[in-house]
Symmetry: C2
Subunit: 433 residues, 2 copies
């Protein structure tokens, strides 16, 4: 038996390649930091006959049992993605007494609470820094650096694909279809972009962040989602005139003991730090009762950045192994009531296309007022003169989502209203008006 | 003996008050996170007869021996500030087998390597997250989250006082003396502002960051300092015309195995993330071979924010105590050659007041060229018509500090040159020209 600490990979694609490359290049440094060498033991792949850069062919296997049977494997690194069989393999590794490091947001979001309990039961650790924000430290700050705080809010841009697209729409005035095509050509968006543009990917990450921030069990089902596909160039133009930009914000907070978790395109004042996070960058802003607001920003994806987070976890476990430390702290994550969107409160942006005739504004204002939604500002933008339509953009004071929805239904039914365009929340951290 | 984990304070001023308040308010949560209660055991103060909010009078003592003699004290939290006797008391606490948490940048910068070795020798931990950046996680990300990286550069705004002052100068066009007076009135600057405006405070923090980032022994003496007192409103105006703002940047990097560490007013392109960090905010940007660039931003001072960091360390130690983990990893921090300013390389900004006559530019350009300093741009700004002077602002390509200094000496000696104004480095992360 070697004196080394053995690491085996489940999955050796892009991120796995990044991990192997970093292990190769940084091996000497890592041995210095840890006190023992890290050794790549096995890698689970779909086709073991295909060579992989940096991995000796005899280390490749198509059977997870080969890895679990290897006594020299102390740490299993899961980089397969998707829910199954990744979840099952993680559970098998934990049961076999292996520490597990994963980058799998879907598994951790959906089954994190159970898997962390399983790890504690078997006296091993399950780490997942790479599951949110690529190389940006996000998990560990919540677990350690900000632990003394009662976290009041987590607000994040945690999907690089959509942030790239929204940045392009804001800066170039381009339309949704155009920027999607560009993003696909650049490799930022998948051929099927659903997981990104519908906010599914972000909802996984937000569930993980909320579980840690608020010490409760949160799954992706607890997150209200709204995608970006309905945003138009005009929304960006109007938002900008009002002093805002539009970001796909992932936001979580506790209100009177209930969770409010949303992923939705949101107007955010241009001078807010999150409004300045552009392109494929990610950023996580955390507010705590002691620390106030802190922001973590950086590249949220990519093999090297993700390897940075994966290996931080591996080194952490390895140092514990060398120091003879075990005893992971079991976590208690009580269930929490999730507040449904109808009970959310926010300021809102509302775009309505109307017949350009007298009395329209009064009617819409009446419907809003009848439902307790108070108008903060209204701007009439020019629209289609030939069609005889005008475009009204309202911002509201803080209103209840359900009341607004009722008002919108009434507005949409009005004969003078051609179309209710986007209804978007306005980030509550302040802002121009 | 109580089952609680005992915490004693050295110093109970502003930050101490913040820690006590947080311990009181968060006590139940902390007990939940740790598995045992945290108990305030003793507090060392200068005058034990003066009551302190949240601290029972019988816990106050004027003698550090009372704390070291208390068997119920497991963690000593040092919040006295300044070098002595804080350093001595920390050493005594470590030798007595107590874990120590400190917010003391001066002690950690000047004596960190020795004290960490002392802690390892006695099998206890010495944590200092609060010493840099208030509540912003900066130490722990370098120790853990980014450990897999070879860190290539640390660039930071880590003095809120000067960042407030420079922000005011940039945004209001105010002069140095004016903003200093304002900062003093607001309580952001001390009556004697030397430690802030001369970059001494920032040099302590940079030394700590460089030690961690580059795994070498760095002290404040290794940091080249230049203060902000000579900056004029004109420098901000000219910098802005050229696409830059001016920040007191603390910057550390390794060049061919040698340390380059500086705290100096630096031109930074307006679209850089650090250029947008305004007011009393702090930010630390770290570049690593894997992660690329990550930025941590937040409030860099204040009792509550500092308490957030102090208590993160306390909770970390407490969880280790509960889990029966000890064995701090001894650290090796080899000495490193520090590259002197004459050997630094940078692009530079250079403001020269000259007699407004023909041939002046050629003379100055000649002196720069003779010393191997290549001009990137030159803009003549209007100056004093009555005095017959004009103001020339040069930016250079990358040049050696020593060569530039020689050229400046020659330029300053020219009869046509009335004054060599500021010579400032330009941040090398890119920028308009």
């Amino acid at each position: 038996m070697s004196d080394a600490i053995g690491v085996s990979l489940l999955g050796a694609g892009n991120v796995g390649g990044g991990v192997v490359a970093a292990l190769t290049r940084g091996g000497e440094r890592y041995a210095h930091h840890v006190g023992r060498t890290l050794e790549l033991r096995r890698a689970l792949v779909r086709d073991a006959s295909r060579p992989r850069e940096g991995i000796a062919p005899h280390l490749l296997t198509q059977d997870v049992a080969d890895i679990l049977a290897d006594d020299g494997t102390h740490i299993v690194v899961e980089l397969m993605g998707n829910e199954e069989p990744a979840r099952e393999y993680i559970a098998m590794a934990l049961r076999s007494g292996r520490h597990v490091v994963t980058a799998n947001k879907e598994v951790m979001a959906k089954c994190g609470t159970e898997l962390l309990a399983l790890a504690a039961e078997h006296g091993v650790r399950l780490l997942y820094e790479a599951s949110v924000g690529g190389g940006i430290p996000t998990i560990s700050p919540l677990q350690r650096d900000l632990l003394a705080n009662e976290i009041t809010a987590v607000t994040a841009i945690i999907n690089g694909t959509t942030n790239y697209m929204l940045t392009e729409m804001a800066q170039r005035g381009a339309g949704y279809e155009d920027v999607l095509r560009d993003a696909q050509q650049l490799g930022y968006a998948e051929p099927d972009p659903t997981a990104d543009v519908e906010g599914i990917d972000a909802s996984y990450k937000l569930a993980i962040l909320c579980s840690l921030a608020f010490h409760v069990a949160v799954t992706p089902d607890d997150v209200s989602r709204q995608g970006i596909a309905r945003l138009s160039a005009r929304d960006f133009l109007y938002a900008s005139e009002l002093g805002y930009t539009i970001k796909l914000l992932a936001s979580g907070r506790m209100e009177v003991g209930e969770l409010v978790a949303t992923v939705q395109p949101t107007l955010i004042a241009k001078d807010e730090p999150l409004a300045k996070v552009d392109g494929v960058l990610n950023a996580v802003q955390i507010e705590g009762d002691l620390v106030g607001r802190v922001l973590f920003e950086g590249p949220g994806a990519g093999p090297a950045a993700t390897a940075s987070a994966v290996l931080a976890d591996v080194l952490d476990v390895a140092r514990d192994l060398v120091a003879g430390r075990t005893s992971p702290v079991a976590l208690a994550r009580p269930a929490v009531r999730v507040r449904p969107p109808a009970e959310h409160h926010s300021r809102y942006y509302l775009r309505v296309t109307v017949s350009d005739q007298a009395g329209v504004l009064a009617k819409i204002a009446g419907a809003l007022g009848d439902n307790g939604v108070s108008i903060a500002s209204m701007v009439q933008f020019e629209a289609d003169v030939d069609a005889g339509t005008a475009e009204l953009v309202f911002t509201t004071h803080r209103a209840q989502g359900g009341s607004l929805a009722t008002a919108i239904t009434q507005v949409a039914a009005m004969e003078v209203v051609r179309e209710v365009g986007n209804v978007l929340p306005i980030d509550g951290q302040g802002g121009p008006r």
